[in-house]
């Protein structure tokens, strides 16, 4: 039990996908202007990540390994991820058209989000069992959402603050992201 908790804590804080491993930076910068969009994106990615993590583990263990086709895992994982993202898009378009339109192009871009593929491949690399893979994916997703929300909240405040004209918008956001990353370094060595 403790090892799963440690794994969870590790992926959320110590090895945070965005701030420590620098994966998934595209939606991190692109969707974090508003809190609601960031939360929506975080939830969507969380959904995709967990499912992808689980299904890619299953595909790898029960399909690729027995057939000796591990070298196809990148392609297979991409296929799995693409299908899940398509499905998520459809559900979102129906249930929340505003969020769907706000996320725009970033929703299908989850397919190419290196965080998602990264988690799937890292799972294989670290050799977790099924439950471990799910925790890993879920933890990564929680960490991603957490950082997205924190960053979006900060950006909303930055938007109305007195920032130098040349720094307004993306520049000050990147500087802030750098500061957050340094802050998260404080977790290193805890797990």
């Amino acid at each position: 039990m403790t090892e799963y908790l440690a794994l969870l804590f590790g992926t959320i804080f110590v090895n945070n996908l965005v701030l420590s491993r620098f994966l998934g930076l595209c939606p991190f910068m692109g969707v974090s202007k508003k809190l609601e969009t960031a939360l929506g994106m975080g939830m969507a990615t969380a959904f995709v990540l967990t499912l992808a993590s689980a299904s890619s583990y299953l595909v790898n263990t029960y399909l690729l390994q027995p057939l000796g086709l591990e070298y196809l895992k990148t392609v297979a994982f991409i296929l799995v991820i693409a299908v899940i993202v398509q499905f998520t898009e459809m559900v979102l378009h129906r249930n929340s058209p505003v969020l769907y339109n706000l996320l725009g192009i970033f929703l299908p871009l989850i397919t190419t989000n290196c965080a998602v593929l990264g988690v799937a491949l890292l799972n294989v690399q670290s050799g977790h069992a099924f439950f471990g893979s799910v925790i890993y994916g879920f933890g990564g997703a929680i960490g991603f959402t957490l950082v997205m929300v924190l960053f979006a909240a900060t950006r909303e405040r930055l938007e109305v603050a007195d920032v130098l004209p040349s720094f307004r918008g993306s520049p000050i956001a990147l500087v802030t992201a750098g500061f957050m990353s340094v802050a998260f370094m404080g977790f290193s060595g805890m797990v």
């Binding site: 909303e156 405040r157 938007e159 109305v160 603050a161 007195d162």
Partner: protein
């Protein structure tokens, strides 16, 4: 001793009360003309019932209330109605609104038909309320909400609070009223108690008014000794002097420990709060039959020669009042209200209205420069409504109005505490006022645009329907013509009936 609570935030201010509280109330001589706006209250404008050229007496009805939340207007002097037109209102915008102008006939005759309510002892609360409504009484503490509407809450009331706190510096009109007419105030409380049937009545006075407390205590003791009905329920309470303890929500917190829910009203807690001035007006209306035609106004400040309190007929131009107080000095600033919550007036041509509790004339001070916000958070500590003025400031400045709703801008009472404590001298309340009116404007425009959309959709539908019907008619006529020649019927009008003329719009 009654238990008292604290309200969050607030600041202690120097009172400056001694400028105007040492002399008794003076009566202002009858002015030459009075300008009575049709709207001196929250709610719908009153409708004139007199015409230009008519002679009116003091206390005569000039304009009637037009809805539940509305109040009538009465003549404050006797004379002739010389104009019903637009005049400058006592508002920073200098906007003009409709007023009834009366030119004095030199005398000061009351309208002869005025009489106290018949059989007061057996009058029902509804009858008492009607008398208050017909007397044009509104909240004289400054909020000018029609009192008759306030006295008809949708639920039972346990506590009636009479607000004699007067927490704002410089203003002393309520203080002097309580000193000079303590019994009037107390009898007014008894009447209000009867209307609301509240279990207890608390008359709250700040502890910087010892004389008023003494006079009220004396009058109350006489009434208790005389065993007057209902007087045992009145409790006189002194509260610590903190600004803004006189704010309705803050006073309720101090006296009952309860907080009025955000966006809600005091009656939801079973409390109704009225000003002492309103209470005295209620007494005059019911026991003397006199409508609201005058009020006590404090004229004070560093820029006025002889500050003091005056009983002023409503509608008196402010420059007349200033002249009676010795005149304003040169370039002095004119503020209607107190230094914290008052509104700056650009002209003294405006008039005294029901909500004018003070005219503050201060010598102009050096303007302090506005500096950038250093995010110190002092404003949040001082806010009596537990808001975050700093966040409201950033969002008002950045015009992100949806965020302002989330930070509860609507709960801001514009007390000015944050303004005063800000080390950068940022005029925070000005930003909040800007944001509030912008949001109100946007909401109004949105409502209008919804109506416009509906109307244009209905119009589109109508045009299409007319076009469709015209085509159907054409098709029918064509079909009738192409049928083989039938015997001419005896009713040639049959075909005409299907050609009903419609004004085809477009």
């Amino acid at each position: 001793m009654r238990r008292l609570w604290n309200f969050p935030g607030g600041i202690r201010l120097p009172g400056f009360k001694q400028l105007s509280n040492s002399e008794a109330i003076r009566n202002l001589p009858v002015p030459e003309r009075v300008y009575l706006p049709l709207r001196q209250h929250i709610g719908a404008e009153a409708k004139p019932v007199v015409a230009v050229g008519e002679r009116v007496k003091k206390g005569q009805l000039l304009a009637e209330a037009t809805s539940f939340v509305s109040a009538p207007v009465h003549a404050s002097i006797s004379g002739m109605v010389i104009d019903i037109g637009e005049h400058t209102m006592p508002h920073p915008s200098g906007i003009t609104e409709d007023c009834i102008v009366i030119e004095s006939d030199g005398e000061d005759h009351w309208y002869s038909a005025l009489a106290p309510l018949a059989d007061i002892d057996n009058a029902t609360p509804a009858q008492l309320r009607d008398a208050i409504r017909e007397a044009g009484i509104v909240g004289l503490g400054g909020a000018v909400f029609p009192s008759a509407a306030k006295l008809k809450p949708p639920r039972s009331i346990e506590t009636l609070i009479i607000n004699g706190v007067e927490c704002e510096p410089y203003i002393t009109c309520d203080d002097l009223l309580m000193r000079s007419s303590a019994e009037v105030v107390l009898r007014g409380c008894l009447l209000l108690q009867r209307i609301l049937n509240a279990g207890q009545c608390i008359l709250a006075v700040e502890d910087n008014k010892p004389e008023a407390m003494k006079k009220l205590r004396f009058a109350l003791d006489i009434m208790i000794n005389a065993d007057e009905p209902g007087v045992k329920a009145i409790e006189l309470v002194g509260i610590p002097t903190v600004f803004p303890a006189g704010g309705e929500k803050q006073l309720i917190k101090v006296l009952t420990g309860q907080e009025v829910p955000s966006g809600g009203l005091p009656y939801e807690l079973g409390v109704v709060c009225l000003n002492v001035g309103t209470t005295a007006a209620v007494h005059d209306a019911i026991l003397l039959g006199r409508p609201l035609v005058s009020r006590i106004v404090t004229v004070t400040g560093s820029g006025i020669k002889s500050p003091g309190n005056y009983r002023v007929p409503l509608g008196t131009p402010i420059h007349v009042l200033l002249d009676a107080a010795g005149g304003a000095e040169g370039e002095a600033e004119l503020i209607m209200g107190g230094p914290m919550m008052g509104q700056r007036l650009t002209t003294s041509q405006a008039m005294v209205v029901k909500g004018t509790n003070c005219i503050l004339v201060n010598k102009p001070e050096l303007q302090t420069m506005q500096m950038p916000c250093i995010r110190c958070g002092r404003c949040a500590n001082a806010c009596p409504m537990k808001l975050l003025p700093q966040q409201l400031y950033w969002h008002a400045r950045g015009k992100t109005f949806d965020k302002l709703k989330r930070y509860q801008l609507d709960s801001c009472i514009e007390c000015g505490c944050c303004n005063l404590v800000c080390p950068s001298h940022i005029p925070l309340v000005s930003y909040f006022r800007y944001a509030k009116t912008e949001i109100a404007d946007q909401t109004f425009k949105h409502k209008r645009s919804e109506e416009s959309r509906l109307r244009s959709e209905i119009r589109q539908e109508r045009l299409e329907r007319i076009k469709r019907e015209a085509e159907e008619r054409k098709a029918r006529r064509k079909a009738a013509r192409s049928k083989p020649k039938v015997k001419k019927t005896a009713h040639p009008a049959e075909e005409d009936a299907s050609q009903t003329q419609e004004v085809s719009n477009g």
